[in-house]
């Protein structure tokens, strides 16, 4: 029996692709984004208020303590899910054409957790099984009387290991022609775990904080959330997006964001009718090679455009391009979320998410029904195609509006609104280009 081959259009594990966005939506979307941008920049936003809003209001430490209690079973449940997904992949189990391991990684983790993080904050920090494993290593080492690992400061390479980790993940998800098989996902999970455990053994738990690409990405998305916990553990409510002002302006953080942005854009391109027209249809290792080259080119284009925007802004503000690029890196976070929602929303709520819940009850295909979901049939009508189209369009447009607001807020920190509006024009054009390309690719789906 030949393995189920991955689909070129439906993000690996999906069996369904979204319908093309109607053309008029595309036009309206671009127009709305432009108008909102124009109005907000020129008239309403004269001083930076997001940094002040970022600390927010405290719910008190009691809420934090409740969360700490809930966190323990949640952490264990997440670890159990991780082990289950790994075991299912290693066992090679498949229910029909569906496999639990790939669904867990590509749908529940990559799509589901990204959205959870953006809404509810850095939940992944608690759920991350590698954090749990690293904590267990630390505890064991202590019990064995080994000298404690120096856990202070940064790991060598900053966040670049996370960039590498994410690139590796994207290669599996979007490029490798067998990336959705149990063998690939199981092998990748083992390799990733070894990397996390090995690093933690040398550098301590800070390794997971900086080298786990998922963790770094989700913590960035969580900066958009109105919920966060401060240093005392108290739960605080802040204005949505205001947390983005606390993103450290660094080039490796920027690389994380551009990598994911480019990867998702490539996924959209590869799923569009443009891609086969461009490179033809290929299977096997040829497809892997072409996809890899294509993804690298798309990431490079997205990054280059951002660089050009930074260069031009820097020309107005008399700063270096790198300085500008770092300073406005946080404004890419809402765009990353917008792209993720636009491209993967239907996968999450339709076949991908529903199959994940279905197989959660029966991950080894042994007829089990642990949670009563094993008999579910995928309901493709849970959301209508119209609703999906509107979500896609709104996600792209709102993501870019948020990005422009956040960028403008930073720009007016150091110059008045008039100057800032003037200087930010090149970056606005980059954002417009990103949104137009995003919508255009969805229209070509």
């Amino acid at each position: 029996m030949t393995a189920e081959l991955n689909s070129v259009l439906a993000h690996g594990v999906g069996s369904r692709g979204d319908l093309p966005l109607p053309f008029y939506l595309f036009g309206i979307g671009a127009a709305v984004a432009l108008m909102a941008t124009f109005i907000s920049l020129s008239y309403f936003w004269h001083r930076a208020w997001l940094p002040a809003a970022a600390s927010g209001r405290s719910f008190g430490t009691a809420a934090g303590r409740v969360l700490d209690v809930v966190a323990v079973p949640a952490r264990l449940a997440s670890l159990a899910l991780f082990v289950l997904a790994l075991a299912s992949s290693v066992s090679g189990a498949a229910v029909g054409s569906q496999r639990f391991g790939p669904l867990t990684v590509y749908v529940a983790l990559w799509v589901g957790m990204a959205m959870v993080a953006a809404v509810f904050g850095d939940v992944w920090r608690v759920l991350n099984p590698f954090e749990t494993i690293a904590a267990a290593i630390e505890w064991t080492a202590k019990k064995l009387g080994l000298p404690p690992i120096d856990d202070t400061g940064e790991i060598p390479g900053g966040y670049w290991p996370a960039v590498v980790a994410l690139f590796w993940f994207l290669l599996f998800e979007l490029c490798y022609h067998e990336g959705t098989t149990n063998e690939a996902v199981g092998g990748a999970m083992i390799a990733y775990t070894l990397g996390m455990v090995g690093g933690s053994a040398v550098y301590g738990r800070r390794w997971v904080r900086q080298a786990d690409g998922f963790g770094v990405l989700f913590s960035l998305l969580a900066k958009m959330s109105p919920l966060y916990r401060d240093d005392t553990g108290a739960v605080r409510l802040r204005a949505p997006l205001s947390g983005l002002t606390t993103v450290t302006p660094r080039i490796d953080i920027l690389a994380v964001l551009l990598m994911v942005l480019g990867g998702t854009t490539f996924d959209s391109l590869a799923g569009s009718t443009l891609w086969p027209d461009l490179v033809g249809t290929h299977r096997g290792w040829t497809a892997t090679g072409i996809n890899t080259a294509g993804m690298i080119v798309v990431i490079a284009i997205m990054a280059f455009l951002y660089y050009l925007g930074s260069l031009a802004v820097g020309w107005f503000t008399e700063q270096s391009a790198a300085e500008v690029a770092r300073r406005f890196a946080h404004s890419l976070v809402p765009i990353v979320l917008g792209y993720t929602v636009a491209h993967y929303f239907s996968l999450l709520v339709l076949d991908g998410g529903q199959n994940f819940l279905r197989l959660l009850s029966n991950p080894f295909d042994r007829g089990s029904n642990w949670f009563g979901t094993a008999d579910w049939a995928v309901n493709f009508f849970l959301v209508s195609t119209d609703a999906i189209a509107w979500v896609q369009f709104s996600a792209i447009v709102l993501g870019h509006i948020a990005a422009v607001l956040v960028a403008h807020d930073r720009a007016v920190e150091t110059s008045d609104a008039s100057e800032a509006t003037w200087a930010q024009r090149p970056m606005l054009l980059v954002m417009v280009f990103y949104s137009v390309v995003g919508l255009w690719l969805l229209q070509k789906a």
């Binding site: 053309f23 920049l41 009718t273 027209d277 299977r283 209508s384 003037w422 024009r425």
Partner: protein, 195 residues
């Protein structure tokens, strides 16, 4: 006023970008390289009498208001080899099929797609068929090897062998785009766009 002016410049430049992107739509209108494969097309979509005006499996035109993309006749997109000159040329970039819509004697027969597979691959290249939601679809597949056609999403399988074409009829009740593959070769045979 400087702010307003700079904003307006922005807007104009941005609109120009949008226009450029729309322009790309036209630019990509000439047929893709695979179009030539349809010259000896054995694929035909027979549409029922109840079929809507969008009978031709054009992809992009449903919701497209009169736009530059459809107004401009692109000579390249109607090459001499087009087997069905009666079909209104719609200059859609990705439609590589040139089906012959013909009224069938029996109504409610739905859409019939015939596809020929050689070595697991479709003889006429991968094409996308547009099907109205809840329409009845019949796929007739013939090939030079023993294999199965797998329709994703619907999770349907139909076997075929040399000299013994496979036929499957189903109601297209799940909206979306679905791949159809040969199971053993694992090659993409066609895409169904439902809705």
């Amino acid at each position: 006023m400087k702010i307003a002016r700079s904003g307006a410049t922005c807007l104009i430049a941005a609109i120009a970008m949008v226009a450029a992107a729309c322009g790309n739509d036209d630019a990509s209108a000439p047929p893709p390289p695979t179009a030539s494969a349809t010259a000896q097309s054995t694929v035909e979509a027979t549409l029922g009498a109840t079929a809507t005006s969008t009978a031709a499996p054009t992809i992009k035109t449903t919701n497209t208001p009169p736009s530059p993309a459809t107004e401009e006749p692109t000579p390249e997109s109607t090459p001499a080899q087009t087997p069905a000159p009666t079909v209104v040329p719609t200059a859609t970039p990705s439609t590589t099929s040139e089906p012959t819509p013909e009224p069938t004697p029996t109504p409610d027969v739905g859409t019939t797609i015939e596809v020929e597979v050689a070595g697991g691959k479709p003889v006429d290249g991968v094409q996308r068929y547009r099907i109205d939601a809840r329409d009845s679809v019949t796929i007739i597949v013939s090939g030079d090897t023993t294999d199965e056609l797998h329709i994703h999403g619907y999770d349907l399988v139909v076997g075929f062998a040399p000299g013994r074409p496979g036929t499957i009829t189903f109601e297209a009740d799940i909206p979306g785009i679905f791949e159809v593959e040969t199971h053993h070769h694992g090659d993409l045979v066609m895409e169904l766009q439902v809705g």
